[in-house]
Every structure is written in structure tokens, then in C-alpha cells.
Symmetry: C3
Subunit: 232 residues, 3 copies
């Protein structure tokens, strides 16, 4: 008893648990795990609307590409043309849509949504329920807290979408809201619950709604050091 593997797909040395489906010419790397109720290579809208059944969906899917040692937990959906690097790990019920690239060692939490045309670097932690719309670009080693919400439409609903850019090593706090086109600088920190309406300079900590600078990265790291020692 195992999952459905398309005749066009390849998954040597991967484990497909019962109830999973790998569609189209997908590639799943060695040591990867595709859990129950997961679909890899999920069809884009036009194909879904046109296909008569699973066979046609499978035949039409362009497939997804998963590296080695990837873990896709139950209920997660990975669309066709998505690419997940080696060691990527997802929680449950995440949605990773088309033309999205996720770098090596990145974690995509439960219920997180990468809503198509998203680029995420390596060793990024995307916590539970974070939302990244089309056009979002996230650098390496970024931390995105639970339920953080990124946007891409400054005057919805408009015809011009502009994603948020998060540079290397930045930290986005829980339940923060980031407005369209904003750039979060290298190693900058956005406090939990903030609403970020403007670019955040590198190595700057911002908080509030709208978010304003509240301290430097140096001060933040000193506070973290004391916090880790249990002093604060």
C-alpha cells in the first residue's frame, strides 16, 4: 500500500505514503517523504477546469521538482512547476503554488501559503500560517514569524502587483503585516504585530502601526544576549 506515482514521475529512494499523489513528470529526490493527502504537481486552474479526471490531470501536469531529503507533511499541496531544494520541510496543510522556488533547508510551516511566483532563499524559517503572495522575494536565513501577512497590491484591487522583498537574515515578527513593495533590509527586525508601510533600513528594528525604528540591531542583539541568559 503506497501513494499514486505518475508513470511520468520519478521518485527513486523516496517514500510515498498511502493517500499521496505525485502527478506529471515530477521528480522527488532520494530520502524524501511524501505524506498522506499530499499532492505533488497539483494542476494550475486551466488544466483543472479542462481535465475529465485524475488521468487527464496527471497527463497535463508539468510536474514539480523536489530535492533530496524533502519532507512534505499531510495535507500539503505543491503545484506544478514549483521547485523545493534539498532538505526542505513542510508542516501540514501548507500550499505552495506554481512557479515558486524554495531554497535548501528551508522550513514551510503548517498552513503557510506561498501563493505562486514566490522566491524563498535557503535556511529560511516560515512559521505557521504565514502568507506570501505572488512576487514576494525572501533572502537566505530569514525568519518569518507565525501568521505574518505579506501583501502585493497597494490599492486593491488594482492591475499592478508589487511583492515585498526581504533581504538576507531579516526577522519578521508574528502577525506582522507588510505592505506592498516594501523592502525589509538585511538583518532588519520587524516586531510582532507591526504594520510596515515603508522600507526598513538594514540592521534596524521597527515596531508599531505604522512601524517606526525603535532600536538598532546592536541593541537588539545585546537584549537577546541578556534574554538568553535569563536576565530579562
Amino acid at each position: 500500500m503506497r501513494g499514486y506515482l505518475s508513470p511520468r514521475a520519478r521518485a527513486p529512494g523516496a517514500r510515498l505514503l498511502p493517500g499521496s499523489a505525485v502527478l506529471g513528470p515530477s521528480m522527488v529526490g532520494e530520502g524524501s517523504i511524501v505524506d498522506c493527502c499530499v499532492v505533488i504537481g497539483y494542476p494550475r486552474r486551466a488544466l483543472l477546469r479542462a481535465a475529465g479526471g485524475l488521468e487527464e490531470l496527471d497527463a497535463g501536469s508539468a510536474g514539480a521538482r523536489l530535492g533530496r531529503g524533502v519532507v512534505v507533511r499531510s495535507g500539503t499541496v505543491v503545484y506544478e512547476t514549483a521547485v523545493l531544494g534539498d532538505g526542505v520541510e513542510t508542516g501540514h496543510h501548507a500550499v505552495i503554488r506554481e512557479e515558486t522556488v524554495v531554497g535548501e533547508g528551508t522550513i514551510v510551516g503548517s498552513h503557510a501559503v506561498l501563493d505562486g511566483r514566490v522566491r524563498v532563499g535557503r535556511r529560511v524559517r516560515i512559521e505557521t500560517g504565514a502568507y506570501l503572495p505572488p512576487g514576494t522575494v525572501v533572502g537566505d536565513d530569514v525568519f518569518i514569524g507565525p501568521r505574518a501577512v505579506f501583501t502585493n497590491d497597494r490599492y486593491p484591487p488594482s492591475r499592478r502587483l508589487k511583492g515585498v522583498v526581504v533581504e538576507e537574515g531579516a526577522v519578521i515578527g508574528a502577525n506582522a503585516t507588510i505592505l506592498p513593495g516594501v523592502r525589509i533590509g538585511r538583518r532588519a527586525v520587524v516586531a510582532a504585530g507591526s504594520v510596515v508601510t515603508r522600507d526598513v533600513p538594514p540592521e534596524t528594528v521597527v515596531a508599531g502601526a505604522p512601524a517606526r525604528p525603535v532600536m538598532s540591531l546592536g541593541e537588539y542583539l545585546e537584549k537577546r544576549r541578556r534574554w538568553e541568559l535569563g536576565e530579562a
Copy 2:
């Protein structure tokens, strides 16, 4: 191989993918797609508690009604007595509970929850993870941004619930919080991350926590026009 179709249900010209279930006297219109791990006609609490198995759940379900060309993506649950108009489309893992009516051409995003007794108009876009509790009323052509949260209990937990009313053509920004009983006027705009504690007049843009008027709809549309031209 296809989904489970109740002997009482009708789905002529619809496609039920493997792992789907259509319970009770549900009707699924022509050209509709019911994806894997979807349940149509999901039983209310009392029935779920009483039934001995799938057969009894099926026998007890009052069914749901889906129009033509409806797309219900994987993991979504549509409760008995819900009604989805022609061309309604859902993302993944959405929950549409009992006595909810969704108008023609409306989109219900992934993880969005319409938590029972919700009325949504036509051509509405409910983005990923939006939450609409019982009593919410949404007019035609409304845009509800990702993770927007509506409420219905002003002094929780109380015995009186009063839903939010969103009039035709209004826009609710991402991760906004709307307090119980608030009325969002026709073509009004709520900025992303706002907390709306009072009624918003028609054609007014509000922002902040608590949200205050910041510009008129005319100014907003002029800004949108420039934004779409790439000037801002």
C-alpha cells in the same frame, strides 16, 4: 476510480475526483469539479455525534447545493444546507459551514472559513485565510484581503452575536480586524492591518488602530491610477 456519491445526490456532468465525498441529497451542477479530500454536505454537529458511520452520515445529511462550473479544491469542506452559486471557486482547505450562501462567481481562498450563517454576494474575492463568523453579510463585488478577521461578539463570550455588514464594492485590507456589528459602507476601503471599531461611511478610506478616515475614495482611485501607471 472516483469519489463517493450518495445514492440521494445528483451530479450530472460534474467530476468527482478520488477521495471526494458528496453526501445526502446534494446537487452538484454541470461542469463542477470536486477535488480529492473534499466533503460536500458535511454533517452538522448533532448528526455527526449520533451517526454510527459513513452510511448514517450520508443518510442524515440534508445535502449542499453547488451550481454549475463550481471548483472545490482539495481539503475543502462544504457543510449541509450551504449553497454555492454558479462559477464559485474555492482554494484548498477552506471551510464553508451550514446555512451559508455564496453568490455567483465568488472566490473563497485557501484556508478561508465561512463559519455558518454567512451571506456573501456575487463576484466577491475572499482571499487566503479570511475569517467570517456567523451573521456576516457581504455585498457584491467586495474584496476581502488575506487573513482579514471579522468578528460577531462585542463582549465575548456573550449571548448576543451581531455580524459585520460589508456593502457592495468595499475593500477590506489584509490582516484587518473588523469589530462586531460594524457596517463598512459602499465602496469604502479599510487599509491593511487596521482595527475597525466603528461604522465606515461609504466611499471613505480608513486606516489605523482604531481606524480613522485618511482620504476619500476619489483620492484613493487617483492614487491607484498613478500606481497602475508605475508612478508611485
Copy 3:
């Protein structure tokens, strides 16, 4: 047709619907319902990575323990070592991770995530999409509104995590953000959309970002009384 029950599990008088799985030496109490696409006793990371298939996952799982009359709705995942008391009820697609204890009669809403090492009291209402990270402690009779986000890392990403403590009878409003280590006092109330950065004294109502006291519990209850009479 019914779900998968591990040879080591016991579920006398419980109903396992098709597509459900109960792994390891799990115990499911009489009158409980395990819905489709639910996993009870879901394996921790190390086991998931090491196991060759469902049989090994089942053999390695330490199991979960569910009391009597528990309802676990479709798509919900309950990890090994989790304990759910009598009468606990979950919505759809909730995630309850390892070493988490949920008291009798508590409701865990759809998409809510108890992210491991969480302790929740009795008769608590955790509404849709609430997020509780490791170390969170919630007393009896607490109300946690939809999409409320708790945190545990004051200077992410740090090596010291400190969960939020919510004392008996407190109310957390919708989409509120609670910072790490904060203590919400007995019967205190946090308004919807607030960002709570400091401890909240018992029987105090706070609102805003950062949240400040706005009234006493006595005033709040008087307002509730009038609201329930339809006066406000």
C-alpha cells in the same frame, strides 16, 4: 469500510471513519469520532524521517490518548504523546502536536495550531486559526478568539523560549498578538486586534498596540449586560 486502526491501538466504542488512521498504542475513548483524513498518533520528526512506510510509522509511534466522546473533524492531526480529555472537540485541519494536553470539554477550532508542549485547561474555547506555540499555558474557561497569535521568542530567533500564560476565565480577542512570556491575569480581557507587550493584571480590560488598560472587568460586564439586552 472504516479507517486504519493500529494493532497496538484500542478504540472500543469509537467510530473511525474511512480515511482516518490511528497509529501506535493510541487509546480512543468510547463514543469518540475520528473523521476522514485524520491521523491520531502522528509521528515526531525523527521517526518520520527514519521510517520506511506506514507500518514502521505505526510501529514507532508512541500513540496519543483521547478520552470519551471526543470529536476530531476531517483533516486534523493529533501527534503522538498528545492527550485530549473527555468531550474535546476539534474543527477541521487543526494541528495538535506532541506533549500537548487539552482539558475536558475544550474546543479546538478549525486551523487552530497547538504547536507542541502546550497545556490547555478545561472548557476552553480556542477559535478558528488561533496559534499557540510551545510553552503556552492556558487555564480553565478561557476564550481565545479567532486568529489570535501567541508567541514564545522575545528576540527571534533566540535560544530561550518562554510561553504565554493565560489565567482562568480570561478572554483574548480576535487577531490579538500576545508577546512572549506575558501573563494574562484571571478574568482579564484583551480587545480584538491588540498587541499585548506586558502582563495584564487580573480583571482588567486592555486594548490597543501596545495594549493599555481601558476599563475594569466590572465595567466590561455591565457593557456586556446592556449589549445582551440589545441596548448598545
